[in-house]
């Protein structure tokens, strides 16, 4: 297999180097066009995310060096600055790597979904710019297929692992599908903003923002259509809220047990979910003891994340089996690809003989030409069936080359040109396993 992958990722390379090598979306299309000028490169595909930059190619031997030089030239870098971080994969290993990447097994957070979309977008762009031919096209398509399969048939992407998505998952475990639950933000930290964004996306409703600096509350509110309130009014706002995200810079707890207890009585024990992301914590830990109050601090959220990650990692072996199966199927397809021209020549050879013999006997079958043609086509198909099936089988178990050589020498196929007619081409293509 003349496939090659040259790249670096979050495991092999520090972010300072990765950010220099990464391609922006506009740079990527430019790069794909320029790669067309590389000598010996027949088809190519580039995957560039914040965690990895990988160049896949198929071409003559030594094409990996051209790809490395292209990286330096395109980004105007000295090769020595990043060469030590590069990995080079060939043939089956390159294919397996792309399958693992698309499945999220090579990601920083195992099983994450974003990479699937990134591979799909890169595929779309490469396709539009016509950088893919038959083999890389098939490879990336299969990578996307296996990426989808592992996510639907295993639990590799189940269970939230980021703080904000865990908060959403917990909120949904308490309130069910979010439909307008009210959110109160205490403090305007980056993390609480992100969590709020996730909650709103999941269906949470009215948002109220309280900050010691009213201007910051106002600014955040304007961005998300929320309601700003003064910091002294947060306790009153809790009465009508369902979810409270707290991330103030206060040096001690501001949400006290007695206050929440009183609020809960006023709320008639309607559930209240506290997400305390602040360090030091904003909510007294005793608040979690009150009935119908669910309090999760940053450590609790991290524990949930670790537990979910452990569950995901248990699924890796299942995913690897699926990837191996897809890889075997790709191998067979690739192997059988070599048989394509031979089958075309063999079909052409049979057609030629049939044509000659039918022409000879045609006068004897006047008025029944259709019947005759159908009969000889059936005979031809029957004769070809066994050798083609045998070739398919040998593509699975190996030793196909021996059969191809035998066919070549028995029928002198090298002296014949592959059939040019569309019908014949498609019949040979149909014989290829998918």
């Amino acid at each position: 297999m003349d496939l090659v992958c040259v790249g670096l990722n979050h495991k092999s390379c520090p972010v300072e180097i990765r950010e220099k090598i990464a391609f922006s979306e506009s740079a990527l299309s430019d790069a794909l066009v320029k790669m067309g000028d590389l000598e010996g490169l027949r088809e190519w595909f580039v995957l560039s995310t914040c965690n990895r930059v990988e160049l896949y190619g198929r071409g003559f031997s030594g094409v990996e060096e051209s790809l490395i030089h292209f990286l330096s030239d395109f980004h105007g870098l000295e090769g020595c600055t990043y060469r030590q971080y590069l990995y080079q994969l060939h043939g089956r290993e390159a294919a397996r790597h792309l399958f693992r990447v698309a499945s999220g097994l090579d990601s920083l957070v195992v099983g994450e979904n974003e990479i699937y979309g990134q591979v799909r977008n890169a595929f779309k762009m490469a396709n539009e710019l016509k950088s893919l031919d038959s083999i890389l096209y098939q490879l990336v398509e299969r990578a996307l297929r296996v990426g989808k399969k592992v996510r639907t048939e295993t639990k590799i992407s189940k269970g939230a692992v980021s703080v904000s998505s865990i908060a959403v998952e917990l909120a949904e475990k308490i309130f069910g599908k979010l439909t307008g639950e009210r959110v109160l933000i205490l403090g305007t930290g980056k993390m609480s903003e992100l969590t709020m964004k996730h909650l709103v996306k999941a269906g949470a409703g009215e948002i109220t923002v309280a900050s010691r600096t009213y201007e910051r509350a106002l600014e955040l509110s304007q961005r998300y259509g929320a309601k700003p309130i003064g910091f002294d009014a947060w306790l009153r706002a809790i009465r009508t809220s369902d979810i409270v995200i707290s991330s103030t810079a206060a040096p001690h707890a501001i949400v006290k047990y007695e206050d929440v207890k009183a609020v809960m009585n006023e709320r008639r024990h309607k559930p209240l979910f506290f997400i305390d992301i602040a360090v030091p914590r904003d909510v007294e830990s005793r608040v979690g003891e009150i009935d119908d109050v669910y309090l999760y601090d940053i450590d609790d959220l991290k524990t949930v994340s670790e537990s979910n990650l452990r569950l995901r990692k248990k699924e890796i072996s299942k995913c690897e089996v699926m990837i191996e199966r897809e890889l075997e199927s790709f191998d067979q397809w690739y192997e059988f690809l070599e048989a394509g021209p031979v089958i075309q020549r063999l079909t052409a050879y049979f057609d030629e003989i049939v044509e000659t013999e039918v022409t000879k006997v045609a006068p004897k079958f006047k008025g029944r030409e259709k019947e005759l043609k159908s009969l000889v086509q059936k005979i031809k198909a029957s004769l070809l069936h066994t050798p083609v099936e045998k070739l398919k089988e040998s593509a699975k178990v190996g030793g196909m080359e021996r059969y191809l050589e035998t066919l070549h020498s028995l029928f002198r196929l090298e002296e014949r040109k592959p059939s040019q007619t569309k019908e014949k081409e498609s019949s040979a293509q149909d014989a290829l396993p998918h």
Binding site: E172, K173, I174, F175, K177, H269, K270, P271, D292
Partner: protein, 281 residues
């Protein structure tokens, strides 16, 4: 063996297969079997319904040569209760056909079907009242009412399990399989609402039947009193939850406590006394 026994065996078999499928899904042994498990519950219910019909129209068991509902022995009443439970679950709780409910409910159905095998002594007092329309409404609505309270009890138990898991921040298999907390609360109280309506019908039709049979709307005996108390307690719970908007663990605990009254009314008073209701002859 007669038709009733064959139907009983098949119904138990279908519920047992459903239980195995629900349990294997629940324990992650085999996945995506919930739909099949639900199909087997439906099949079991269908056979169970045929069983009820066979029992109802079985001339051989009819002392007075009249057809009647299969509630004259403790075994029959138990089987009829299982049927009411399956009916409420399948017809009214379509959205709750999860492995968690299935894994608890199917063994309960089997458990209540087993007494049907045994020849309990029939309550002959009942036979002469089956021609009365009020009496039939009374029995049917009482059974469906109690089945609703039983489902509410299961939902309330699940609520407490999930509440504890969320409080203690543990994520067991059970935690992942349970529906959200508020959905469980909604389900528990919706089934209580049905239960209150159905038991209300049962009490009303019971009073009308008592008037025609005994000349008085009120029977002074424990079961009638216990039913009325159960109904009143559940009505208060519904008032607290729906009108006063009291939510959360405490009201759920109250609904669990009220179920003790259901057990006392439905089982307790029948086990210790014979007759139509305890003391009525």
């Amino acid at each position: 063996m007669n038709l009733v026994y064959w139907l009983l065996l098949f119904a138990i078999g279908a519920y047992a297969i459903a239980f195995i499928l629900f349990a294997s899904e629940f324990l992650n042994v085999i996945e995506k079997r919930v739909i099949w498990a639900a199909r087997f519950v439906e099949l079991g219910f269908l056979i169970h319904t045929l069983l009820i019909f066979a029992e109802t129209f079985s001339v051989s068991r009819s002392v007075t040569n009249e057809f009647h509902l299969p509630v004259t022995t403790l075994g029959e009443a138990s089987g009829f209760f299982a049927w009411s439970l399956a009916f409420v679950y399948l017809i009214l709780l379509r959205q709750m056909r999860t492995e968690t409910f299935g894994v608890i409910l199917t063994p309960v159905l089997i458990l209540f079907l087993i007494p049907v095998f045994f020849p309990f002594h029939p309550n002959e007092e009942l036979f002469k009242h089956f021609h009365d329309g009020y009496f039939l409404i009374h029995i049917l609505s009482a059974f469906f009412g109690y089945a609703s309270f039983a489902l509410s009890f299961i939902a309330a138990l699940f609520y407490l399990v999930l509440n504890r898991a969320l409080k203690e921040k543990t994520s067991s298999t059970f935690y992942h399989r349970l529906p959200p907390l508020e959905d469980l609360e909604r389900l528990a109280f919706r089934t209580i609402q049905w239960g209150v309506i159905l038991l209300g019908f049962a009490i009303l039709s019971g009073a009308l039947w008592a008037k025609t049979a005994f000349g008085s709307f009120i029977l002074k005996e424990p079961k009638s009193f216990a039913s009325f108390l159960t109904w009143a307690v559940y009505l208060v719970i519904i008032y607290l939850h729906e009108v006063l908007q009291i939510k959360g663990k405490r009201i759920v605990l109250m609904s669990l406590g009220a179920f003790v009254l259901v057990l006392f009314t439905f089982l307790g008073t029948s086990l210790f006394h014979t007759g139509l209701h305890a003391g009525v002859r």
